[in-house]
Amino acid sequence: MEVVVLILKIYLVFTLFVMVVYAIRHFLFTMNRLFSEQRIYYQDIIDSELRSITVIIPMHNEEKVAGQILDLLVSSDYAYDKLEIIPVNDFSTDATRGILNDYASRYPNIKPLHRYEGQPGKPAALNEGIKLATGEIIIVFDADYLPPKGILKDIVVSFNDPEVGAVMGRIVPVNTRTNFLTRLLDLERTGGYQVDQQARYNMKLIPQYGGTIGGFRKDVIMSMGSFDTKILAEDTDLTFRLIIYGWKVIYANRAECYEEAPETWNTRARQIRRWSRGHNQVMFRYLLPLLSSQQLSRKEKIDGVLLLGVYAVPLILFLAICDSLALFFLGEINIFGGIMAFIFVGAYNTFGNFAPFYQIGIAALLDGATDRILLLPMLMFNYFLNTFYISIGFFEAVVDRITGRNTKWTKTQRFRNKNSKAPQHVKNLSRHYNDNNKAGEK
């Protein structure tokens, strides 16, 4: 029994250590955004020589959103002869196929790829799209995104830097107003991009390619091998493959794009579970190669390890809560006496539960969105949901690692319809493009 208690106590101290490390990380990022000189991104570069690009949009049953993203992309300011758009219809059973064919008939640079054989899922769809692509740079958007007119140039300009293997833009939820969940997700996104990603870019660490609103070099991905269809987080997989091989991933805070955030807790739970499973698959695969890579500095390796671990931390904390309960009922919770106990509890709650909260608060402040900061305490509801489903995702990744089983991609449900609460200027834009298209058809 004594051995068990000792193990439980050691685990609790280990958790405290992990929490403090992550708290320091969040704190450094936040302070960096507040007080340090910011690195500028390449968006101010104006270039008359554009690279050829291929925009790939994986689509599985995307009839609600397919038309809008295609309308916006064909209205982009990128040179028409340098732009190829490949929407990949991935086993759709709704009207997606017809919509894509309709657009292809009107726009020669839209070249839909219909997939009804092989393995479904985003990584497989991307692999097929990349094989067809003629562009030097691959840009990926999810189908629910609303790319602004100038975003393609903003993303592509970074590839003038020979070290850049991939670039990631900023995601902004368009349906913030819809309900309580979308408001919380908006805060999470704000913290994740405005502070976390930008600070990592500032500090020359590892900004993460997020699989959408971003791009990468086609020849590099071809030379490294295509996306592994067993990995559910192909974006994180690409990030770590690139940095381990000596490429840089950079972040473009100004390349902003609206997305549709999940509007139901079930959808969000499935999404975060998939992210966790995929991210942890990547952690198991790349932790050792990352540490042994000759291409990375020490601080990049530390950041890489912490980045790989972010979807393991909720499980570590969840187990620590169970651990502390067990120790409490065993009468062994008194690990530290006096002031140390106070510090322990304070650190455990403040750093463990609230570490990202001040990061999010500062991010909202930087965005000039001050009233939404009042919602910060409510993030605990999202936190509980995340902890539970991320933990499940972790265990699934463990089983994936042991058995090498195939994974099944579960698409995030779309909610957009004519009553969706998009900002007025986005609605106007969509209406404008739809009117144009109708005029074109006539």
Partner: protein
């Protein structure tokens, strides 16, 4: 009773942190998505184009009679329509000026609102101008100060000691004399010398046809801090430290440094230059691509950046200094201070 009060107090204190959030959820004061300008595209001549568009919209169907008019731009404004005026010295003009034909101003005139001229413009010394756009050429005498921006369809000649506001852009040549302060410039070319013809025709043999780089990795990383004079490199090179590049070196690709890059004289670079530190470009160098620094950029005399048929950019976060007889085809921008020296 005490227990009940304690329970109620506990519940109240427990719920207290959520109260402001509940109020925000109900009132939805800050519930709109963060704003993204869906139509935004990068245009170095945005200010002039945008103002002309606004003005044309506001004056659509206008009888172009000289005199004062009320128009609505973003707010109600007074606009004076005037034919080819010669504005006398020391005047202060507090309304938008819409000039049909050429505009000439004498010394120390103060234009507190925007100026638009359909012809050429000659601005006298010491004028202070909020913003100006011209359909023809613009010539500024010494010491002219712009508070916002300047744009012209034709050439712009800028005298010494001018301050050019946020942006100065031209559809043609943008000539800057010494000691001019700027943040953004656009011109084809931007020049600090009149020896344009020689620059435009700089010889193609400056970029000798080198063997293509065939190694597997498309760039190489180097720890060297000094590249000897006359070195030729075929591929993209990343320098991990500050680097000094000797005279007459030729780079077929892009160079990047995690520190400073100092180019001595007569360097030729076919690609871009990126640096986390300062970039100092020596005399008589030829750079075909972009120049981008997270710090400052200094361009010495007789250097040519880009080519007449290409637009490239020079971005220096902290500052940019441009020497004499420099020609830049494209765009220059700094968040800090830019100056011709």
């Amino acid at each position: 009773m005490l227990f009940l009060i304690a329970v109620i107090l506990f519940i109240l204190l427990f719920l207290l942190p959520f109260l402001p959030g509940v109020i925000e959820l109900i009132s939805k004061e800050d519930a709109e998505p963060l704003f993204i300008s869906m139509d935004y595209i990068r245009n170095p001549r945005y200010f002039g184009k945008s103002f002309k568009k606004l003005l044309h919209r506001a004056t659509a169907g206008f009888a172009y009679n000289p005199g004062m008019h009320d128009i609505k731009l973003s707010k109600d404004e007074k606009m004076e329509l005037i034919h080819s005026p010669n504005i006398s010295a020391n005047r202060e003009i507090n309304h938008i000026l819409h000039v049909i034909g050429d505009l000439v101003s004498e010394g120390n005139v103060q234009f507190n609102k925007e100026v638009y001229a359909t012809g050429n413009v000659a601005v006298g010394p010491g004028n202070i101008i909020r913003a100006m756009v011209g359909d023809g050429d613009v010539a500024l005498a010494e010491g002219v100060q712009f508070l916002r921006w300047l744009d012209a369809e034709g050439d712009i000649d800028i005298g010494a000691n001018c301050t050019l506001g946020i942006s100065a852009s031209s559809g043609g040549r943008l000539y800057l004399s010494k000691d001019c302060a700027f943040h953004r410039l656009f011109g084809m070319p931007i020049t600090t010398g009149y020896n344009i013809a020689a620059m435009i025709n700089y010889p193609e043999e400056s970029f000798p046809s080198l063997e293509p780089f065939t190694e597997e990795f498309p760039f190489i990383r180097k720890k060297e801090r000094f590249i000897p004079p006359g070195t030729t490199m075929k591929n993209d090179v990343i320098f991990l430290n500050d680097v000094l590049i000797g005279n007459d070196c030729i780079f077929k690709g892009t160079i990047k440094s995690y520190g400073k890059i100092i180019l001595e004289e007569n360097i030729t670079i076919d690609g871009n230059i990126f640096a986390d530190g300062d970039i100092l470009i020596g005399k008589n160098s030829k750079i075909r691509g972009h120049i981008f620094s997270q710090m400052s950029i200094y361009i010495s005399e007789q250097t040519v950046i880009s080519r007449p048929d290409k637009i490239k950019s020079i971005i220096g976060k902290r500052s940019i200094r441009i020497g004499k007889d420099v020609n830049i085809y494209g765009y220059v921008a700094t968040e800090g201070d830019g100056k011709t020296v």
